[in-house]
Symmetry: C2
Subunit: 329 residues, 2 copies
Amino acid sequence: MEFDESLDKKGMKAILLDFPNQFAKGLEVGNALVVAAKPRKVFFAGMGGSALPGDIAVACFPAASMSVHKDYGLPNGISKQDLLIAVSYSGNTEETIDCAQQALELGCPIVAVASGGKLKEFAERNGIPFAAVPKGIQPRIALGYQFAACAKALEAAGISGVSNKVLEVALFIEKEKPAVESLAQQCAAASFDKIPVLYCSTELWPAARIAKIAFNENGKVPSFWNVFPESNHNELVGFTRFAEKFHFFFLHSTDDHPRVKKRMQITRALMQEKGATVTDLELKGSNSMQRIFYSVLLFMLAGYYTALAYGQDPFPVQMVENLKSALDK
Amino acid sequence: MEFDESLDKKGMKAILLDFPNQFAKGLEVGNALVVAAKPRKVFFAGMGGSALPGDIAVACFPAASMSVHKDYGLPNGISKQDLLIAVSYSGNTEETIDCAQQALELGCPIVAVASGGKLKEFAERNGIPFAAVPKGIQPRIALGYQFAACAKALEAAGISGVSNKVLEVALFIEKEKPAVESLAQQCAAASFDKIPVLYCSTELWPAARIAKIAFNENGKVPSFWNVFPESNHNELVGFTRFAEKFHFFFLHSTDDHPRVKKRMQITRALMQEKGATVTDLELKGSNSMQRIFYSVLLFMLAGYYTALAYGQDPFPVQMVENLKSALDK
């Protein structure tokens, strides 16, 4: 399959290939995120690409008391002993601003991560620790900056060893990058003209969800995700019909539960019988954080190549821009 | 559109229309679920249709400390002060049995809901309070029994007023049933030959998710779901392409956040521009529980009619049976 890189008017590929370098910069700006006392729990507020740092943190530190709020207002059960980490790449996400405002009124400690905008002004006005991530890209491809900045806030909140794991991730995906780039082209080619569906184990759920988002946002194609074993109990039977419209990516990990491994193997065969095509992929890495970021890099690039395959510039998200201007009216 | 009811060999429609009567029976068998002391938190274990009672409880009692585990093993952060409500319609769901076994070893209080099977034996062997729901249907259409039995366990655990809300739900959906039946036919006709996608507000998420499952299991068609406002930030742009393959159901509630209402209205127009078809539906009811069960009844029936529209018996779930026999090998 041919990929016409001249469609990439904004130099998105260069940004994606520079992704491993975002982590060190993110840790640096994250030093500003001072937390006075160990909170009872941590809640993130963010939408879309700016919700992903929280999702990944929740998956990678399952024993910590953490959650992610993707809505207006406050999540239930929050008190002023709880730390809010507010993340908005543009700084102007209305749901996140609304949440931060209400958390301030409740008296919660808050730290904020943005490239500028209203969230920056809000932080300055209220003496809230603020990490300024570099401007000018897009939330979904600023994940390295944002996640690393949040890692510093988590350390400040008493979760130890996060920065070291982040630095290891940066080194790991830098090393994997050349192989990942060619694998990403294969993924784009395999799912061309089909609807990509991503499956992984429950533990690694952001690996499948972020891959789905990368197909949506970079590739501009519908894409869906689910986890094992739960998807076996309902979604499976839906592929009785129309299975030929879908391409499945089964994202495996050496640490998957033995029964989940067996379920994936059987499900693969059942899907193929119904006419679906399937790609099996091993999520490389020695822990959840490495495996999830391996998936991030792989599918950000697969989404990029998917857009090129359809003759489209992967950078703009025109439907989101149209939505935003209609919302502002 | 014609629906050939002679395809319904197992009398599934009669079971669905009897759904409102399940609640009273479920409350009755739920009386067996004695809880000795108020737990620190409540966690449900269940898969597929047997996870839905927990999902609905979490959505309807957001201030209570509750979660749902859909996997092998124990969720993180569980201690012996926490109550497990183990639900498995057949009683033989391996993930749920595994979780219950580990909870027993940890010393958690446990109550169990099943129609028989290994979970019943486990309960008898270990002196665990057990609610026996009627046998012979399928987990997804036994939700009234299972949810009402769980409601009694929640009351026993100190969450007051659950039974009354359940009884109100039963009366409410019985009253709505005639109108819902004809609406369900319209939904099946509107989404015929397309992939149904269900959207609702974050608060009501089980309303969209259970509808998706009903299309999968009763209708045997692929179907997906998401929530507002989050889906606006990533999934939206995926419908740049292939939108004509999808039919969207926007599930509204009078209590939706004003900005969510506006987002849904704008998104509807954007999807239609791309060639998708859309049905707007008001989830009737005066609280979340009523709105969610309104969606359950409507889409269980819409899934039923979808199967008939494709010339298929809505009852069997052949792919799940094939999976189970392969897993047992």
